[in-house]
Amino acid sequence: MNKANKTILKTKTILIIDDNPYILKPLSMLLSGFGYSVTSATDGKEASMIQVPFTNLILLDSRLQDMKGQDICKKIKSDKTTKHIPIIMCSADNRIKIIAQEAGADDSIEKPFNMAELLQKIKKYI
């Protein structure tokens, strides 16, 4: 196996589900900069497509246009093929810790967070 292929296999994929493009864009740029492969979705419909099973970690906003982040979380966690994927829920709501626990998420982070905080959490899982 050549070096390039090894890198591809090693690269972890993070799926960001957030309906705000002004969060999605810089967050994707930053996480890519830290060596992750980033995919994104802006709503529940988009997220329910084929992306999920090929993801190593999901960063999920609690408030989306079409559905609640909690519901997406519950859906992923109730599916045999996807329930092992770590989910970090994020929100500007300071009750996010409780919301995330109730939805069955692995972790949570309150907005506005800084990248150091987020990276620390991501590294706990992948």
Binding site: I23, P26, L30, N94, N114
Partner: protein, 376 residues
């Protein structure tokens, strides 16, 4: 109304009741009745020792919808909500008024037609000239509108702050990208500017969190997640974080015997961080800040001493109120919004603890807070 005046007034009122047939007192009774009736924006009424209503002014008629003759001889519990009656609130309040000489209360009361209104009230014990307890005086004011306004205001602060968080998050992320780029390019001025930008963003975030906390406190929504933790380890952690931000002061920590605290760790950390940061803010660089933890039988007491400007006696109580800023803060151009100590004392109170200050101008201040000890 000051306590002393009130005492005089209530004993005189009971005088007139006892000796109402006496000529000079009849004039008094007429005068007092006129005075109380003229206060028709406020409900003023009396009860006997057991809470049976004995007088009822026109303000009470207006506020509750009951005529005087309908309520005389009835128990005061008729103005309390069924929930409060279940909790035995009417009896408890009378007991407390007798014990403490005054009860200040804010609660929902119920009208004749069953509707509720928010009232702030005072209950005083009525005593005759021999200090024998005869009954109670109630003074109630309808505060429904103020309450609704306060709620709207707090809801607004809460929503607005919440909405502000998303753009702040976005700015923070873009700032981080700029920081990485300027680092790569070796652009010193750019990097310096981004760091300043981040400091200001931190301040903005802290400010929003304070506003959210205040709104939560006002709405009674401050929830605590209590756990047991080691006090010394906890204090060390907080001091390390503060030292990382401010390097100009010598921060010492002296502990007594180690003790476990049962509290919301994050919230108490917020309190201690605030007090240590204040000690730094309000004293000259190079001076000492001493953090101590002690305990007595019932409480763990943490104190934070500085050798700074100090707080004059006249301001020592005011500094714990909302949006109050010490004169020394304004004079010395120290930034802040006057919410830190307010939030801190509310957090401590929510833990059934106390917070107080000892200070002398020019010598420095020591802030104390206590948290009740709980055994596992």
């Amino acid at each position: 109304m000051p306590q002393s005046k009130k005492g005089k007034y209530s004993s005189r009122l009971s005088n007139t009741r006892k000796q109402g047939t006496h000529g000079s007192f009849r004039t008094h009774e007429g005068f007092y009745r006129m005075m109380i009736e003229s206060l028709d924006g406020q409900s003023i009424f009396t009860t006997d020792k057991g809470g049976v209503i004995s007088s009822w002014n026109s303000g009470s008629e207006k506020l509750f919808g009951y005529k005087e003759k309908e309520v005389i001889g009835k128990n005061v519990s008729l103005i309390f909500t069924p929930e409060d009656i279940k909790k035995n609130i009417p009896k408890k309040e009378l007991k407390e008024a007798k014990k403490k000489d005054k009860v200040v209360e804010e609660r929902n009361h119920i009208r004749k037609n069953g509707s509720l209104f928010w009232a702030s009230g005072l209950i005083y014990p009525l005593r005759d000239e021999k200090k024998v307890h005869r009954g109670f005086t109630f003074i109630l004011i309808n505060r429904t509108e103020e309450k609704a306004f306060d709620k709207r205001k707090d809801d607004f602060i809460s929503t607005a702050t919440h909405e502000l968080k998303t753009p702040v998050m976005s700015i923070r992320l873009f700032a981080e990208i700029v920081e990485q780029q300027t680092k790569k390019m070796g652009d010193k001025i750019g990097l310096e500017s981004v760091r300043e930008l981040n400091i200001q963003l931190d301040r903005l975030t802290a400010l929003m969190n304070y506003l959210l906390d205040v709104a939560k406190i006002q709405q009674g929504k401050l929830k605590l997640e209590k756990t047991f933790f080691d006090v010394s380890v906890f204090i060390h952690e907080v001091i390390t974080v503060v030292k990382g931000i401010s390097t100009g002061h010598i921060i010492r920590f002296t502990k007594s015997t180690p003790k476990e605290m049962y509290a919301d760790r994050e919230r108490i950390s917020q309190v201690l961080t605030n007090l240590v940061s204040n000690a730094i803010k309000y004293s000259e660089k190079g001076t000492k800040v001493i953090v101590k933890s002690t305990h007595d039988k019932k409480n763990i007491i943490i104190s934070i001493q500085d050798f700074g400007f100090g707080i004059p006696k006249s301001e020592q109580k005011l500094i714990f109120s909302r949006f109050y800023r010490a004169n020394s803060a304004i004079e010395n151009n120290i930034s802040g919004i006057g919410l830190g100590l307010y939030v801190a004392i509310q957090i401590v109170k929510a833990h059934h603890g106390k917070m107080w200050v000892k200070s002398a101008v020019g010598k420095g201040s020591t802030f104390y807070f206590s948290i009740p000890i709980k055994t596992k």
